[in-house]
């Protein structure tokens, strides 16, 4: 899952960015409105965290221009502006959520996760695929009630495939949603990541949850015993 943080405070960029990355998200950061708009228009982010008082282009203008350009990315406004007028204006301008500074990081994380689920039409906090249970809130995975340890990026890959279960996901889509602009994925990084994930979640000697569609990509579907 790829998140864009548009925030002018360098300290918040660092702490929020670090926290989201540790939670398994790919995070791009923009320090002003113009840069943020440029990122948002050029990359298919899953969620945008947007400050309102930004140098250059202010947050509401970024949001308006984004919506005018037809972008439907879910936007969470994160701002020090706390009046009801500010919240109403922000939500009416096309934001999907509004959080006031100072905030609890867990709440920010929960709201980002909620927006991600909403983006994919999922209301339950966990996804069950056969014997595989993916807890999107707790960021945990288990198979046959046995917990499986996944690295943040592995979990992000599984979450991305799970939210699109039954649909073929291309390597390019995986790259653009799992890796941020700081990462430099090599040509076979997706294949390597899929291979590593299969080793973690698939039962030994059984067919994989993740199936390859040659020339198209990957699809996550329930394990069907032969």
């Amino acid at each position: 899952m790829r998140v864009l943080l548009i925030e002018d405070s360098e300290r918040l960029q660092r702490s929020i960015g670090a926290g989201l990355r540790k939670a398994g998200y790919a995070v791009d950061i923009a320090g002003n409105g113009n840069e943020g708009l440029w990122h948002a228009q050029g990359t298919p982010y899953d969620v945008i965290i947007l400050d309102l008082m930004l140098p250059g282009l202010d947050g509401l203008s970024v949001l308006s221009q984004l919506r005018e350009a037809g972008k439907t990315t879910h936007v969470l406004i994160l701002t020090a502006r706390d009046t009801i007028d500010d919240r109403v204006r922000g939500l009416q301008s096309g934001a999907d959520d509004y959080l006031i500074k100072p905030f609890a990081f867990d709440e920010l994380l929960a709201r980002v996760q909620a927006l991600l689920r909403r983006a994919h039409g999922v209301k339950q906090p966990s996804i069950i695929i056969g014997s595989l249970k993916i807890d999107l809130s707790g960021r945990t995975v288990s198979r046959d009630n046995v917990s499986i340890d996944l690295a943040p990026r592995e979990f992000a890959l599984l979450e991305y495939l799970a939210l699109r279960q039954g649909s073929v996901v291309s390597r390019t889509q995986i790259e653009s949603h799992i890796y941020d602009s700081q990462a430099e994925p090599s040509s076979n990084v997706v294949d390597a990541a899929i291979y590593a994930l299969r080793k973690r979640i698939d039962p030994p000697g059984a067919a994989s949850f993740i199936q390859t569609r040659r020339g198209m990509g990957y699809i996550l579907k329930p394990f069907e015993p032969q």
């Binding site: 002018d8 918040l12 702490s15 006031i100 100072p102 905030f103 609890a104």
Partner: protein, 474 residues
Amino acid sequence: MRSIQRQLTVKVVAASIALSLAAGIALFLAVRWALIAHEDHALLNEAQAITGMVHRIPNGKLEFEFTPANLPDFQSARSAGFLQIRQTDGTVLARSPSLRDPVNFTPPPSTSHVHWNVTLGPNRPGRAVQFEFIPEYDDDGLPIDNVRPSSWPPEKPLIMWLARDRAPLHETLNIVATWLIATTTAFALLTTLAVALTVRRGLHPLRQFSVNLSEIDVNSLDESLPLEGLPEELEPIARRTNELLARLNAAFRRERRFTADVAHELRTPVAELRSLAEVALKWPDGPQTGGDYRDVLAIARQMERLIVTLLGLARAQADRITPAREAIELCATLRSTFEPLKAVAQQRQLTLRWELPEHAVITSDTAIVQSIARNLVENAVEYTTPGGRVQIIVEKGAGRITLIITNETSSLTSADVTHLFEPFWRKDAARVASNHTGVGLALVAAYAKLTNAHIQATQPARDLLRIAVTWLGA
């Protein structure tokens, strides 16, 4: 608590009752005087008429025709009339049968005719008249042509005392008094009612004014009292009240904006601190870098700077600082102020031009002057356009020393200059300049006012900002 309505009602009613009592008494006295005058006049007329019943006959004797038919009211002690004829030497010549006790019939000093009050019996007041007259001769007793011969001795006048019972007059006066008392009482009651209603109705605009005023609270200070329909006595009060409300509203708005600004200035550093701590606690096995601690320290310093500046501003504005009177070398203060900013100026490639005299000593408070100089120089260094020029001049005039700092800036407008000394005013709505609290210039203005220095910000050219501080009596 004093009530205007009650006071007005009581005073107007009391005045009305006093006036009606006075008018009633005056009317009663006037009626009494008129009735007595009328009675006196009637008594005198009667006395004159009775003189026609006294004749002198040719033998010189007097003849009194006081028959019961002629004087029916003078026949018994119960009669209303009393009559006595006497000579000037006091010899009583005739008296009516009704007059049994002449002692009570005491006359006043003798005049031609005069009225006085007499007592005609127990609880029986009366009114009397004394009338002097010379009895006419009987027609038969006069010589030819009814002319009295001059050879006859001169006639001595007779004195008639005539009295009448005053009971009818007193009855009339009692009736008049009773009517007057009844009328006055009714008038007082009606006046009380009418005054109470009139005052209540007259004070209705005042009550409405009070209701309108009571409906205005802290959250509706932008409302004003309606002036339409107000009586002219209340209109100036309403206008003054509206002006007061406007001033209160402005003060409240300033206060709210200030509080909101303070909260806003603190929100971001608190959010930074909290986010930093929560992420570190959530993933404790993550690498703790020196950068995190530097961030915590920088945030703490920023908040400390804001608090110190706000405290200074609050104390200066509340006159809770007593500035010292010390001799301060302004040029040395400026140089030492600039020293820690030299690196920033070089980094921003600023060109600095100093025009300082050898000595410029002002009399003020050292800490305050240092704060003024530091804030002004910091602002100039940090807000000047990168690569721009900063000019720091100290001018010595007659009894005054002026510090003038001029710097190039591309963002300020003439409208912005008027807001420069407002707390938390920033050209940049994003408030990205995290090294500044937004209160520095407000503190400079407050300190200048506290130490009787004069401060002025102007825009001598489109891209220039000039701030001048003048210390008098230098």
